[in-house]
Structures are given as structure tokens and as C-alpha cells.
Amino acid sequence: MPEITYLEALRQGLWEEMERDERVFILGEDVGLYGGAFKVTEGFHKRFGESRVIDTPISEAAIVGAAAGAAHMGMRPVAEMQFIDFISCAYDMLTNYVATARYRAGLATPIVVRGPCGGYVRGGPFHSQNPEAAFLHTPGLKIVYPATARDAKGLIKSSIRDDDPVIYLEHKWLYRRIKEQLPPSEGEEILTPIGEARLAREGTDLSIITYGATVWKSLEAAEQLEQEDGVSIEILDLRTLLPMDDAAIVRTVQKTNKVLIVHEDTRTGGVAGEIAARINERAFEWLDGPIMRVTAHDVPLPYAPTLEDFVLPQTEDIVKAVRWLAAY
């Protein structure tokens, strides 16, 4: 099996869906001739033509709004935000128009809004954000956040086929860092179900619930802790944040009885708070210690490498938190 990157897996998933279904089209800034800021759509313009791979003006509200209008008429648009930070320009479209369309009008809006998120790349405050918490609160939307190449491919394909609007967050630090062996397109069809978490590592002493880039930080920490402390850590990669896989969360809590939640986004009002509340409601009696969090500090993401590294969750932060919780 060929070894491919997270980015290439995403690209393959998009390509396969474009080949499979003529209703699928891509729109965004520089996605056509230029091939996308990170080259996710390289070659698409040549293969599928400008009617299906569309360079837009820098107009995020109109990109998402036009995608929604076309989706109302049965199309399957994939809108790229060049950096996911710019999705805030389309917040009105997504929360007011897109998320409510089915409820108020019985109208399907099968759009995917995707884009590179996340830090660890010295992107500074406008090119490093994780916007999931801003949308987690909005009924009618779905949010997926792949950590692996397999899921980058499987989730983009499932998102495109989903009948509801999906925000697809792809981590730019993982784009070329993660490589996996995946079957070629003509082999197995990879479709990751939306709403299902994945056990990234089995363990017995403590659970880390996480998603995105911090899945890899957590895996690193788990290896180190296994060797140095003999602690057995289970890691649950959520993959989908909305709807959240409550059953998988409860299962791992029941198994290990201790939970550390790790995410790259800032702390206050973040996804970790929601997960902790759900565990309290559904599995409180299974806990042998407080639910702890490792997250980014509550500051805009600074550019300076020393500061960025300090603000974002690092492997050693996770190690430290696990040691504290394991000893509790």
C-alpha cells in the first residue's frame, strides 16, 4: 500500500467524490488555477474544469452563502476557507442561514465548509485558530476534525455525502507531518462515519479524550508514560465534535475511571468543558478523580516561537497532567 500524507489523503477524498458525483463542486479563494494555498486542490482545475473548481472573490460570506443557495437546489458544494480563521466572516451565514434552514424551512443544506486550522506553525493570531467551540453551540451544524490520514480521507468523503452542513477542520500542522499507508482509490473505499469516535490507543489506567493535532501529542505522552511510569493510557480520538459520541466517552470512563481532556483550542468555553459536563451527567459514579483539562492558555495565539510553544498544549504538559491525575 502506498504511504500518503494527511493532505494527500484529503485531496484523494475530494477527488474521488468529484469523480463520483457531478453535483459536487469546489469553490474558494485560489482553489482553481493556483491549486489552493496549501495545494489541497492542486490539479483539480485541470481535471474538472472551471465550472466545478471555482476561484472566488475574497468574500467569505458570499462563498458560504452561495454554497448554501446552490445546496438548497440539490448541489453538493465544498467551500474552502483559505485559513479557517476567516470563517468568522461567514459566521452569520452558517449560524443564521445554513444551520436553521432544515428546521425553519425543511430545506437540506448539504455543504462542506473546510479549511486549515490550528497552530504549532508560527502562524500568529489570524492563521492558527481552532474555531470549533464557536460552532459547537449551534444546532443544525456538524463538526468533524480528523487526526489521521485515513480519517482525513474518510471524513471528507462522508461529509460531502452527508445531507447536513458539515464544518470540516483540517490541521495544517498535520498536512505533511502525518503519513500513513492507505489503499489506493481503486481499492477499498474509505468512509469514516460521522459521529463515531475512534480508540487511538487502548489502555487501562487513565483516559485521554482528545481530537486533532493533540491526538499525536497525547500518543507521544502515552508512550513516554508507559515506559517511564508504567501507566497504561487509553486515548479516544473524537473525530466528530458535533454530534459527539457520548457512548464512546462513557465507555472509556467506565473502563479507566480517570479522564484528562486535551485540546488545542483555548480553555474557557472550549469543547473540554462540554465533555466534562456530559461525563458528570452520564458517568459521574464511575470517576475516581476530577476531570482535568490540558488546553491552550486563554490568550490570542502569539507569533513568537517561545510564546506559541508555551501557549499551546505540548507533550510535556500532558505528561505532567497525567502524572498528577494518576497519583490522585
Binding site: 472573490p57 460570506a61 452563502g65 452561495a66 443557495g69 446552490a70 437546489m73 448541489m75 451565514m93
Partner: protein, 332 residues
């Protein structure tokens, strides 16, 4: 002789169209009067924006469309919904928040919707639906259809970024969209000239290399002809148009808003009422001998009955089932 027959047939068709436009406007007027009454009785809650005074815009433009064309609106859309053929019963029931409403009671006055009429919604936020119109136009073009999409909004929406994004996108992609700006001069209680550097909305079309017309919105025939020209441009060549239709609302912005005194004078409102689009057309049809007073009275009585029946239907309809509350958030 043949020419004379053809001319007479054309004349006949024109008279029928004019009569239809008169009926549509009267239906809107009586419907809105009934809605105001129901609001005062507490049968309609929340926010309710009446179309009284602006009837010629909906009646003139929508009669230039085919049934398979698309329509998308802002929140003052009762008139468009009715002319588009959503029944008065379904619209009134929606205002009453009933299960039989066109949005099953989940939308209300500002969010009327009926996909079967290609009525793609009223939208409760100023200007945000313009990009959706671009998307509807995009899908028409992509799917190889020859339909058009008409998008209504008020003049205050011109100050929203989405207006500019949508017009640019529509023009650069040559989409069959007709933007109908209903310029009633006031964004709620703020006169347009107090907040807009360019007060002739039609001027904005230059920025986007788009065809445009300035239209007297109190003359339904003028509105209709301008709309028909725009429809032709869109249908034949995929060329969008910006129509600025100068109109006036005789009522307040919403039900809680005073008619005059705060942001406009009583004299101004009274003067505008002299330009009532319904009387204007009724008078013309009388002068031309198309309708006499008895026929006009009969028409009014007929729409009255429709509206009374709608109010009764809405009153008698069941509330939405609470079991519906969690339905249709996402696909089942």
C-alpha cells in the same frame, strides 16, 4: 383583419394581466389589514412587518416570472409569498404559529417558505440572503436551466457587506439573478440619506458592471415592465440586474413602530398615500373601461372573503405538536 384580431387578443391578455395585478395587490392589502387586526388581538406574536404601500413591487415583479423561477426575500415578505401562490391560509397560519403554516409554525412572519412554489424563504436578518440568491443563480446555471432568481431586499441592506459580495459575485459569474431593492426610504426609523453616502441605490450597479434600472414603485405597470426586461436579460444571457424600486410603506416598520412623528412627518405619509398603487391602477382600469365600479367592488369582496377564511383557518388550526420540536434539526 388578422392583425386586428391579434391586436385585440393582445389587448385582452394585457387587460387580464392588469386585472390580475390589481387582485394581487388588493389581496395583499386586505391580508395585511387582517394581520394587523390579529396582531392587535394577540393572535400574532413577535415581529410582524406589513407590506401596505409596497404592494406594486411584489405584484409587478412576480407576475413577470414563470412558475419554475426562484424567489428569495427578506423579512417583509407576506406580499411576495401571496403573489407567488402560497395560500393565504398557509401564510396566515404561519403568522399565527400554527402547524398548518407554510413553515409548520417554526418560522413565523419573517421566515415564510414553500419550496414547491420555489419560494426560498423570508429571512429575518438584513441583507444576509443576497449571497444565497447568488448560489441559487449558480445552481441554475450549473444545472443548465433557463430559470431566473429574484431577490428582494430593502435599501438599508445596501450598507451590509453581503450586498456587495453578492453583487460582485453574481456579475463576475454572469448569474441569472435579479436584485430588487425595495427602497422605502427608511431602515426602520433611520432615513437612508442619514446613513448612506450614495443614496441612489441604482448607482451601485456601476461598481459591479451590472444592468440597472430606477423604477417608480407606486406604478405597478412600470414595475412589471422593468422586471420583464430584467427577466429577459437574465433568462437569455445570464445577465443580472439591479432594480431600484422607489416605494413607500404606509405603515410603521413593524407593529410596535409609530406610523409617523418620530422619524417622518404625518404630512409626508399623507402625501405618499395619495400615490397609493392600488387606487392608481383601479382608476386606470376604470378609465379604460376594463372594470367598472361594480366589478371593483366584487373583486374587493372576493379577496375579503379569502382573507377572512384565512384568519378562520389559522384560528382553527392546531398548534405545532411538541413532538415536532426536535424534528428536522438535522436529517432524521
Amino acid at each position: 383583419m388578422a392583425t386586428a384580431t391579434a391586436q385585440s387578443a393582445k389587448h385582452q391578455a394585457q387587460s387580464e394581466l392588469h386585472k390580475r395585478m390589481l387582485r394581487e395587490m388588493l389581496l395583499i392589502r386586505r391580508f395585511e389589514e387582517k394581520a394587523a387586526e390579529a396582531y392587535a388581538l394577540g393572535k400574532i406574536g413577535g415581529f410582524c412587518h406589513l407590506y401596505i404601500g409596497q404592494e406594486a413591487v411584489a405584484a409587478g415583479t412576480l407576475t413577470a416570472l414563470r412558475d419554475d423561477d426562484y424567489v428569495i426575500c427578506s423579512y417583509r415578505e407576506h406580499g411576495q409569498a401571496l403573489v407567488r401562490g402560497i395560500s393565504a391560509n398557509a401564510v396566515m397560519a404561519e403568522l399565527f404559529g400554527k402547524a398548518t403554516g407554510c413553515s409548520k409554525g417554526k418560522g413565523g412572519s419573517m421566515h415564510l417558505f414553500d419550496a414547491s412554489k420555489r419560494f426560498m424563504g423570508g429571512h429575518g436578518i438584513v441583507g444576509g440572503h443576497l449571497p444565497l440568491a447568488a448560489g441559487l443563480g449558480f445552481a441554475i446555471k450549473y444545472q443548465g436551466g433557463d430559470q431566473v432568481c429574484v431577490c428582494y431586499f430593502g435599501e438599508a441592506a445596501v450598507n451590509i457587506g453581503a450586498f456587495h459580495e453578492a453583487l460582485n459575485m453574481t456579475s463576475v459569474w454572469k448569474l441569472p439573478v435579479i436584485f430588487v431593492c425595495e427602497n422605502n426610504r427608511y431602515g426602520m426609523g433611520t432615513a437612508f440619506e442619514r446613513v448612506a453616502a450614495v443614496t441612489d441605490v441604482v448607482e451601485h450597479a456601476c461598481s459591479y458592471d451590472m444592468a440597472a434600472e430606477l423604477v417608480n414603485g407606486m406604478d405597478v405597470l412600470e414595475v412589471h415592465h422593468a422586471a420583464a426586461r430584467a427577466v429577459q436579460r437574465a433568462r437569455k444571457g445570464g445577465h443580472p440586474t439591479l432594480l431600484e424600486v422607489r416605494t413607500y410603506r404606509f405603515m410603521g416598520h413593524s407593529m410596535s413602530d409609530p406610523l409617523h412623528g418620530v422619524y417622518r412627518t404625518k404630512e409626508e405619509v399623507e402625501e405618499q398615500k395619495q400615490r397609493d398603487p392600488i387606487s392608481h391602477l383601479a382608476m386606470k382600469l376604470k378609465d379604460e373601461g376594463v372594470l367598472d365600479q361594480a366589478a371593483l367592488d366584487a373583486l374587493d369582496a372576493e379577496v375579503h372573503a379569502v382573507v377572512e377564511e384565512a384568519a378562520k383557518f389559522a384560528d382553527d388550526s392546531p398548534d405545532p405538536d411538541p413532538a415536532e420540536l426536535h424534528a428536522h434539526v438535522v436529517a432524521d
